[in-house]
Amino acid sequence: MLHWQTLRAFSFGWLMLTLISVTLLFPTALIPLALATAIFSALTGCIAILACRPKLSVISLLSGFTLFLGLIEVEIASKSVENNLPLTLLEFVMLLFAVENLTVTSKRPFFIMPKSGTQVQESLIGTFVQHVLRRSSRAALLFTTSYLISIGTLYLSTSVSRLQLDFSFYVIVVSISLALLVILRKD
């Protein structure tokens, strides 16, 4: 039960963060539309985690993706990438988080919603809720950190020098290659 409460609080926090960030960062003309999409995406995402419904996760992911595309379109229209980059980046990170949600919720949804007539041991449900909580919180922490690093890198590069941006670009390429090498390593 405690895990469920934590999960609910976590979902509520995520919802609030989405709304505040969209309201603060989005261009004024498009705020109502973006707000509606963000609310919808965040709500469906929350319900998807709580009810372990993969379909809702997919809807959340699609609406998040639509918003992300909208932001890119705004950037293309304004012919400047850097104007709304923090917001676009935030939407991208949230999109990645929605993918994580989908992965978690698609794992054995019948733990929470058993098939007709079947009953599942309490301990198994508890284990699954723990699993959902652990994965969601780790993903949230990771993506928040990576967002902050990205924003930091962005502001640092614009405020200090062009050379540093090239350096950070180099760091990104090297880190992703390193990650790839580590993952593909043989047993």
């Binding site: 990438v81 850097e82 980059l85 980046l89 991208f92 990170v93 990645l96 993918v99 994580e100 992965t103 794992k107 054995r108 019948f110 733990f111 058993p114 098939k115 007539g117 079947t118 009953q119 599942v120 041991q121 301990s123 198994l124 284990t127 699954f128 723990q130 699993h131 652990r134 994965r135 780790r138 993903a139 990771l142 993506f143 950190t145 990576s146 967002y147 690093i149 990205s150 890198t153 962005l154 590069s157 941006l165 090239d166 950070s168 670009f169 990104i172 390429v173 880190s175 992703i176 390193l178 990650a179 790839l180 580590v182 993952i183 593909l184 047993d187």
Partner: protein
């Protein structure tokens, strides 16, 4: 261990952003790579344990059943390694023909070192047959699902659902040929037994308990009772599950009913001490030579559990003749359990009767179905007529017992007393 499709997609997206940054000469686009790179690095730093050491045991309760009861399966998993096994996804394969009543066959676990976890699931009363449960597969993915590892933890376990056995108490078998072993069948020979045979003059040395005091008083001399010895006989049960089992002449599942009837008859005959054999005539023909005891009963029930109705290539007359000639002594009893559809069955009964065997036939009775189309009704009537003609042809050489699921076999046997005819 390998990478997942998700990893490939993420990497493709990351390199797409890098490519776009290079193409438009806008390095800030590459900022989008940071979250992906961070996720990949996190995943590689906290990678999964490649070979989880797990001790898994599956227990079936009961391992063998007579149907009509749920099967409880308990799975115990113990982490025998000294490190924690995280995000362990287990899936125990259950055949689609079995339905889950309670519990789950898949779960996600995290086990500490030396930790033991036990879970159970219940399968609702399965139909007669042999089922294989398992294998149990373990699937481990890391936190973000970038790398995975799969392994088969446990093999398959056999679950055998035997046919239902009805207790038949009123079977009094009379046979023309009896074996040398004592049993429950009156043999028409004088000796040790329980059934009274005749009176004779007392001879010195006779057991005093055998003296018939009433008869001695009447005759004025000592008279002793003679008893009929009770022996065992050989029985071969022929189960016909060929075309008839697939026929729509019967409103009930005639295959199941025949199998259950055969199981009940074999069980009772073996319980009475007889040697019983089995010949299953269906899509796959199987036979068991006559033998005694509980092991034979188990063998017969196991064979019956696997019976699947279907047309056979070989005629039943040939199948019966080839088996009985090899394993069954003459003048033994052959019991046919058949719907008596098709011409071959008549020939089989006649041939066995002519070979000197006592033949007893159990035939499920056809049922009437209401609200049926005209053509179906006509087809049913033709089949029923054909069946009646077959039965009429076998009447002179066998004893015939009509059976139906609506009445117990015991009641039918009590009414007809077929065994006494031999």
């Amino acid at each position: 261990m390998g990478i997942t499709r998700k990893t490939v997609v993420y990497l493709a997206v990351a390199y797409l952003f890098i490519g776009l940054g290079l193409a438009f000469k806008e390095p800030s686009i590459s900022i989008f790579v940071i979250p992906i790179a961070a996720a990949l690095l996190y995943s590689s730093l906290f990678s999964i344990d490649k070979h989880p050491q797990l001790d898994v045991k599956r227990t079936l309760n009961p391992p063998r059943s007579f149907g009509g009861e749920s099967i409880n399966i308990t799975v115990a998993i113990q982490n025998t390694s000294s490190c924690r096994t995280d995000q362990l996804e287990l899936e125990d394969h259950v055949p689609e023909s079995l339905s889950l009543e309670a519990g789950t066959t898949s779960l996600i676990l995290s086990l500490h070192a030396e930790e033991r976890f036990e879970y159970e699931y219940t399968i609702s009363a399965p139909r007669r047959g042999r089922y294989l449960l398992g294998p149990m597969k373990a699937h481990i993915v890391d936190d973000l699902g970038f790398s995975e590892f799969s392994e088969t933890l446990l093999g398959q376990d056999e679950l055998l659902i035997l046919p239902k056995v009805e207790k038949l108490r009123s079977m009094e078998l009379r046979a023309r040929r009896v074996g040398p072993w004592s049993g429950s069948i009156a043999s028409r020979n004088i000796g040790l037994g329980t059934e009274f045979y005749e009176l004779r003059s007392y001879s010195p040395g006779d057991d005093l308990r055998r003296i018939n005091w009433k008869a001695s008083a009447k005759r004025g001399r000592l008279v002793a009772n003679e008893f009929e010895t009770e022996r065992v006989t050989d029985v071969m049960l022929v189960l016909d599950c060929s075309e008839g089992a697939l026929s729509e002449l019967f409103a009930y599942d005639v295959e199941e009913y025949e199998v259950s009837l055969a199981a009940s008859l074999c069980s009772q005959l073996l319980l009475q001490g007889n040697r019983v054999g089995l010949l299953v005539y269906s899509k796959e023909r199987t036979w068991l030579a006559p033998a005694f005891g509980k092991r034979q009963l188990l063998r017969i029930l196991s064979s019956l559990a696997l019976v699947k109705g279907g047309p056979s290539i070989v005629p039943i007359a040939y199948a019966v003749e080839s088996v009985t000639a090899a394993v069954l002594p003459a003048r033994s009893i052959i019991v046919f359990v058949s719907p008596f559809l098709g011409d071959d069955i008549v020939e089989a009964v006649w041939n066995t009767a002519n070979a000197g065997y006592n033949v007893l036939c159990f035939a499920p009775t056809e049922s009437t179905i209401e609200n049926e189309s005209r053509y179906k009704s006509l087809a049913r009537r033709i089949l029923a007529t054909e069946r009646r003609m077959n039965l009429r042809q076998v009447f002179p050489v066998c004893r015939f017992i009509p059976v139906t699921p609506e009445k117990s076999v015991e009641t039918m046997l009590r009414r007809i007393k077929p065994w006494r005819s031999f």
